[in-house]
Amino acid sequence: MLASSCARAAASRTLVLLCSAVPQSPPPALGRRALLHGAAAAVAAPALTVFPTVAAAEASDVVVVGQVKYDVKLPPGATATITGRVVGRNSNGPLATLVIPDLGATPSPVDFVITRADMREVAGWLVRVRAS
């Protein structure tokens, strides 16, 4: 499937998304209100974050790290909206949303990081142990 996708890529314009999920500790014992405040604060932060080192990423609240690759010239003002959903579960819309403004101004590949604060409603509600 990947090979066929790559073949199509060679014949046309492409956009490739490379990503990985990073396991996290459960969120600190904060109330829902505190978590929502955390999400609001993240709105003012840069939408595109590049971690220079792996150590820095591991010490943060990173949920997904990835790259957007493209091989076409994008006009000014092109934005990339990255949304995340859980595999195999209907989450009634994206659980996480990250907007990369003016994607074309940054040479491909463009690194991106989705943090807990980019998650919907309850910022970064990750659960460590699955109940049986």
Partner: protein, 55 residues
Amino acid sequence: MADFVWLDQDLFLKADVVVNGKTVLVGRGKAKAVEGGEGAPLASRHTKPLLEVKP
């Protein structure tokens, strides 16, 4: 509550590139949960690039 993610769950990511309100490119990827649980180095992460081209 729908707003949670198990640590061992994989995530589907979708990237839409929009120019002047029109979607010109769509990319999809699967973010695999890192094996080894908490503290696993990022170097051990799985990546699975997928690709979709929107005409």
